[in-house]
């Protein structure tokens, strides 16, 4: 069985999609865990501020998640657009 150029491009695009998603998920994972840990510490110190801290934590996590989302968009482009 011969591997043509189109097959090679398709395979490399799928490999790139997997790499983009896997490597791109490291940063947001570490960052969000760090934010959640710090929020837990702060709630332990000041339990009466739990509502405000949780809201701020969620918004911060949603913002820091965006790099992971970019890698998801790149992975989707590689999977569905590169033919």
């Amino acid at each position: 069985m011969d591997i043509t150029g189109a097959d090679f491009i398709r395979g490399m695009a799928l490999l790139g999609a997997g790499l983009a998603m896997g490597l791109g998920a490291i940063g947001p994972g570490v960052g969000e865990g760090f934010a959640a840990g710090k929020a837990c510490e702060a709630i332990g110190r000041k339990p009466e501020e739990a509502g405000l801290l949780t809201r701020t934590m969620l918004v911060g996590q949603a913002v820091s998640e965006s790099t992971g989302i970019y890698s998801l968009v790149v992975a989707l482009l590689l999977m569905f657009v590169v033919k």
Binding site: V59, A62, V63, L76, F80
Partner: protein
């Protein structure tokens, strides 16, 4: 699984132009707009001291976002920009949460909607900056701290639009694709409703709030 990431389009060739309309996005946006107009009508129909249910919901939206807007912009400017912020949140929330109703799909799943809203926020923020600071001072902002930092500042401003719109689009699109794939794997048993609860309600609400807050922050950065 074949229809993954596919959008219904309607192609029109008029006078040498090749026009493509994303039909489902347009229809869903119109449904959201109709729903919001209906909600506004119900909330303000018979205002009284003992409020009806739509009036309570409307008052909750207005009171909370008024506080946030005043914190970011101050009392005077908040009067101008508060309707924009509140309406933006209500529209985005309805758009993001819409996917949990069978047969409907989120307009924000299509990149055109978030990108349009992001460009709108960008234009409004810069208009507010020019209006409050004056054109000369606005231009001078780009040449800080040193004059050759100008290209970097311009790219930074443009990157804001890309980041804000791709964040919303990626979250909603990724959520709906995960729901589709997992539903296919488990033959629609037990797990999909939980996923709809997480990706539809929770992520949709958080992302609508983040988009609104970032638009507000961009306006307040330009105004300062």
């Amino acid at each position: 699984m074949k229809e993954l990431g596919k959008i219904w389009t309607w192609v029109l060739d008029v006078g040498g132009y090749h026009l493509v309309f994303n039909v489902s996005t347009i229809i869903m946006t119109l449904i959201v707009m109709g729903f919001l107009i209906l909600f506004a009508h119900l909330a303000t129909k018979n205002k009284s001291l003992i409020p009806s249910t739509p009036q309570i919901i409307g008052e909750l939206f207005v009171a909370n976002f008024w506080k946030l807007t005043v914190d970011a912009l101050g009392e005077d400017m908040a009067k101008t920009y508060f309707p924009l912020i509140c309406a933006l949140f209500m529209f985005l929330w309805c758009c993001n949460v819409m996917g949990i109703i069978p047969g409907l799909e989120e307009p924000t799943k299509d990149l055109n909607t978030p990108l349009g809203l992001g460009i709108m926020g960008f234009v409004i923020a810069h208009y507010a900056g020019i209006k409050t600071k004056g054109f000369k001072k606005y231009i001078k902002e780009y040449f800080e701290p040193i004059f050759f930092m100008m290209p970097l500042n311009v790219v930074g401003e443009l990157a804001k639009v890309v980041s804000i719109s791709f964040r919303l689009y990626g979250n909603i699109m990724g959520g709906s694709i995960i729901i589709l794939v997992v539903s296919y794997l488990v033959y629609d048993v037990i797990i999909p409703p939980l996923l709809y609860g997480f990706f539809g309600l929770f992520v949709g609400t958080v992302q609508a709030f983040v988009f609104t807050m970032l638009t507000l922050v961009y306006i307040s950065v330009q105004v300062r």
